[in-house]
Symmetry: D4
Subunit: 256 residues, 8 copies
């Protein structure tokens, strides 16, 4: 006989243990897109205590939708190694252009990263950052539902040695840092430069180059890197996103 | 040098090939929740031509959210074999009650089903059914965005030997069939009976028992089975959902 | 030197003359879709005093969108003659299946019908019907904007010997007639039977068969005919719509 | 017997062929208003590979509504030649002021331009531009529904030798170029000057004068020209719009 | 020197005196349209204690908008006497058809009724009725803003010997009475019959005939009379509305 | 030095302990209005394990707003004893009519009930009931935010020997029970009869009389009692509400 | 027998005559509040050709609501003469403070102004101004419904020797002039200074002082005067509003 | 027998007396959060005439929600004395960290402050301030419902010797003062500096330090103090809030 209260207790106990453990992290990744998942995969693989926070219900962000709702995406030669690492089989459309089912890519990135040890907190939004000694030292979090409803309910706080802003075009972490603290970032202008128009080739290079620490304790990756540092956009080609995730993981790992 | 137009062409060509192939199916699964994914896994594993249609961006439905936004879920003893088949490692909370990370379960079900050969069309909504010789013979589909916006844009149509209504509590396929065709279903009342209140034990048994063909060509599975046939609800315990998916796959396979 | 007030006066004078003339009609067509436009074309060509009322800004309804936002549509062999009459050049996809650009079809139907003499009042909604001697004898109209905003502003009224309900799936004229007057229609049940699910072949035949006078003074055409009389739907194939428009024009002309 | 799947396949195949061909253009026109349609007409007539992209369902923009919902409009003497070219018969209200039915004008412009060879993609929105060698070299496009819903779904990209911003008062292409690239335009201030108040005479002259290349690869026409360059507005008189479309076509043709 | 607090106190004191006095009435009129204003005029003129309650900010309802936003209306011969009584000067359009500026009519009806002694509480909504001895004996009222926002805030109550439902097409008082008390009304069916389609002549006669006591203590007038008793609608001709208001005032006066 | 993580941990730990304890209750009260608070006060005072679930942020429901936003309320002679028990000092307006500040009453009821031992879970909504042996045996709960957003996220479940529906006019628990289980209630019709119009005297008596067990395991109190059993409404007088809360507490206590 | 078409024709004919006449005015008043109505009254009384344009359905603006929904307002000694002129009887609350029913004041101002000859176009919004020889020379108007819905529909235009911005706090005419033409106004800063906080005494004086021509052809009156010139606000005391209307009428009359 | 009109009269009379008395205050507190309630408690205890204005239905603001909807909060050692003063019993989680039920804290603060003599006007919004002799001298108030609906209805005004801005993060009073009067505040920049990111320790100290008079007549307390003066935020720890309320009460008391 199934007891509904035992089910409730099992869920609460497992969650609270997982959530409480995530209040003190090596790395907190904000945003559930491709560069964040790849970063989480490599960081977890190296045994770091790493968790991802995503305000929406599902993880994967814009990858699910492919290009213009046609649920396929392209990875170019440079990103092939990471696809192989993830066990994904791609079809070569033209030399150096591989097409993949975007739904499968989304699920695989989540699957592989969690198998490697990444903890994911979906439905949890980043509201603000913690500042300690002029350094980003953690996140202020709340339920995504509270943010969506704009209810006035206090958040909770976690500490993390490093934070990765992997929130895509909006670069939410960098935005809140600049808006509330008025600090200068490690960018060409000291501010958030803004994403440029489409130029896929440059965009892909920029996504990797711009992946860096923009303020003590805060890294940017993926489209957030281009948005913060003024790189071009690239559309539904994902090599740069994957490489950006790999790079940010490598750089942070060396400092832990 | 990356060429943006080649990327566009690669995506369009891959999608159109995949989509055109899906216009003539063995089995069309409507709704991207757990019973549909398990059904898709087993059907694809047996080499059936099977595709899933989900109006939302991501696949997995309510599983992502765990219980009350605590992203864990429970599977009881009866569902353990399917978890094992999916390669998921569960923690035993109390004897016979296994807790799993709900985000990992979502990603794993999608990953395994697609690896087995299931094609998934997210962002595509079921609008209506095709009727041929007093039998459900296919789906009328449209972009989920068109449905969300309630725009007046004509749909397209696909043929399928069987359709599975795996749309959860709403039982959308059964609803549209009854509303538009006024037919009698294979249920205790001939109509859509409606889901009962919570009684986890009964709900789990009902989900499996109610998984059946309710009209020539149309099966129901998962919560849609209980909603159509009048079963109890069971909350965040998923054994019944998994077994329902396994059962509907087995029954349809035997008829193909 | 252009005088803005002369421009205003020119527009007002032309409109008022056109609008006032339309207060006493032979035929009032409600809804700007394909069957209504074809009906308007043939009625105007025979010198009838005919006007169309459409609540939206543009004319053409769902045709613009093709199938699932792919802006192409299909006309089968039976509708080929009307396409030719309209001067449209179609491409044969498979024997008996002609594809046409849906944007071009929309514009052409409007263009040809107005060249033939049809008056079109876009932005004007049908609110109710006029009843005289147990017969539909005209329309109660208002700005579409008033209807959209649900503002309480009185309508105006026009008289018409016949009214065609060409409002598509909603069958708005028939709906308001039944709801407010409680009358019995010339259908199998005496009420609005409702559109059935998809069966293109039957749907096409039904659209023509169901095109008829359902209450003294009120005809239905196109999808409204199937919705009122219980025909199947057919999706983005338009032969039946065109033939329905031709039929309703022929039947009404004989009675004027 | 009609086969629904053949209908689906015919639509998909025709659309994909048309859409894929439009990924490499001579001229991409953004926005479906009068100046864009006239430009498309003349460019297509001269055999250029030209396509129009409009996020809404129907084409014609504000013309459909006449002045203040009175569906008539005015063309002055200067625009008479283009009206004649389109085969439209106007009524002279006062010397030099011609009134025309605005619905007929909308349909006729679409009809004539497409007959001349213009391809139109309704329901497709311009999201951004492609930049190559400091020049606008194409468009980043997405479904209009995706833009309306503000869903995070990646776009596709097309290349075009020239782009015309014919988006009316909003001047969307110029806006996105300035906002994302921070470039200086060929205007009196280097920025987007903004449309002035009403002065019909000046507005009409300005619309033609301001029709020009404002950045390498990007032309503005119609109200977008006045909005970008600081011209006066003119209301429901359309001579300037038509002449602007003719001018932009002529200038671009000479460079192709 | 003006003192803001004195202004506040003056307003509060005047309002509270007026509002408290209105808690015990001879007649409570619900809805601020033409029949209610005319009824209020005649009742107040005869010295009855009468107040009107209207949930919106302004009084006059749909009269302000004329016909289809053309702010003129028509009164036929039968209503001429009441127009004259109100001091309104009408223009005869055709014999027996008088046109009047609808804005002036709105203001004049309010002006004359209040000068005669009617108290008007705008921004106050009727939420329910008071029942005493199987009779409508008063109103349950709340701020219109509370109703608009659907906030859960308790109402206040007033007693009245008679209530007039002058709420137009919605017949809100009759609706709430039937819905909550399940009583039988003095109509052909015992229920709310519903307004019929347009037939101006019949509608005008019906509006007067249907003006009566439909339940002990509750009268209907104007369009509410036709809506409750099943009369035809008549559009922007107002003779019947005025006569209905005169009739209901006369009938109630005789019983006070 | 304050540590933010310690604050987070303190809150999580205190909450989880309180929440887990509430999964097995003597009495679960749904809705945070006056009758529920009084019931909770008396039950807790007698040492019962009792918790209240309210979907909104604050507790007190409609009491905060007084009558028509004038934040005062009335208690009549019959309710005076409970006011005294709560330590509230009332002003006698007329003999037997006491006025109190409605904000103070709200805060006091919450304060006194919690001091007595009632646990309150605000922001938690009742979604469904648990059924065991044809008896209401617990609640299916979810975050109020999930309900407000209509997100598809599974609930959790708790067991309770008795449930009190104190949800006011909506009678949400009774509604869900009847809608999903189709059972017959202990009312005059076996169904939910619906609240009647205003008659304060009867309404007050009814509120107490109708406070009873309407289905095994389920009691109704306060306005929910009148809504379920067909009592009159009474407006901003609260004696009946208080007495209803006292009665339901007494009846349930005797059975525990 | 009433003929519905005659009613329609009567309304259209009367409206078009009135509306066409208003395309060439002495004075166009934008906004239907108290200062505009008083200005219209005095201008019309002196035989000027004057019309008012108000986007909402009813005229009177915020006066209807009194202070904080208590429908009374105050006029101080200075405004007493205009009240008397309007035939309004006020109650003296304290020496120099007169209270009046705000509903009656609204209706009376409209009634008296229209009796004097003011034409009022409700439901018509000001969209822009006409500029001729560096002077405001008319209005660009559209239906208020078009503005509310933000539909892209062209406006019409009228010429007027003077325009009064009586749009209250928003000062819409001044705003559009500054935003679109970038001109310098006759204010302390050359721009729109903005309304200050509450100081009733100063606010009343400022409302009269700031009533002036702020740009050739454009006057401001009432709260718009304070908003444009930086005066204090005064709340529900109306002497200044009335005197402002009187002043603007006098100043303009002298120049016509 | 209960008389509904007596109930209405009792409520109106009590409210009007309370409200009229509050038009001339010693201290007006804007916002119903913890620092305002504590300030109100201490001011009332010292016999000052003090009232609180809160636009929402309930009082307590964000406290009700605890941290992240877990309805518990923390008070550290420094705030322990005020908790004791309020009679609240806290649980020590770790040395110096006390957890309390957030619902109980909300109710208790309201209860204690009102028992001490604070008058609370919920549902009443601050719209603006009164300025007299370059000093904040009162409030301009309106119903919260009017503000929520953005209806154009005039406010009322009250005078107060001091105003406390206790509106939390938004600092509404300071915002309106700066926006409308352009004055310089007693802050590091002269403007509203804005709240910084999370640093609980600093935030708590800042909340007390920043509690001060920022403009003659206007104090800030609680989160509004940090928002105006640029302090850090602190999340769900409330010692600083309580001490801020105590401090502002003490400072103002000394000046009365």
């Amino acid at each position: 006989m199934l007891n509904e209260v035992t089910i409730s207790k099992g869920i609460i106990a497992s969650y609270v243990e997982k959530f409480t453990a995530a209040l003190e992290l090596d790395v907190a990744i904000v945003g559930g897109g491709p560069s964040g998942l790849v970063a989480g995969y490599y960081l977890a693989k190296q045994g770091k205590k790493v968790a991802m926070f995503e305000s929406k219900l599902s993880i994967g962000g814009g990858i699910w939708g492919g290009g213009m709702m046609f649920n396929e995406l392209v990875v170019q030669e440079e990103g092939k190694a990471i696809i192989d690492e993830m066990g994904l089989v791609a079809k070569e459309f033209e030399p150096g252009y591989y097409t993949l089912d975007s739904v499968l890519v989304s699920a695989t990135l989540v699957y592989k990263a969690m198998q490697a040890g990444l903890k994911i907190f979906n439905l949890v939004a980043m509201e603000d950052v913690v500042i300690k000694d002029d350094r980003v030292a953690g996140l202020v979090i709340n339920w995504g539902a509270v943010k969506t409803l704009d209810w006035h309910i206090d958040p909770l706080t976690l500490h993390s040695k490093f934070v990765i802003d992997a929130t895509g075009h909006d670069a939410n972490v960098a935005q809140v840092l600049v808006r509330k603290m008025g600090v200068s970032l490690n960018t060409s202008t000291g501010g958030i430069v803004g994403e440029k128009s489409m130029a896929a080739n440059k965009g892909e290079q920029h996504a990797v180059e711009n992946t860096k620490e923009i303020y003590p304790g805060l890294y940017v990756s993926g489209m957030a890197a281009n948005a913060v540092c003024g790189g071009y956009r690239m559309g539904p080609v994902f090599g740069g996103m994957l490489l950006s995730g790999e790079k940010v993981a490598k750089e942070i790992s060396q400092r832990l």
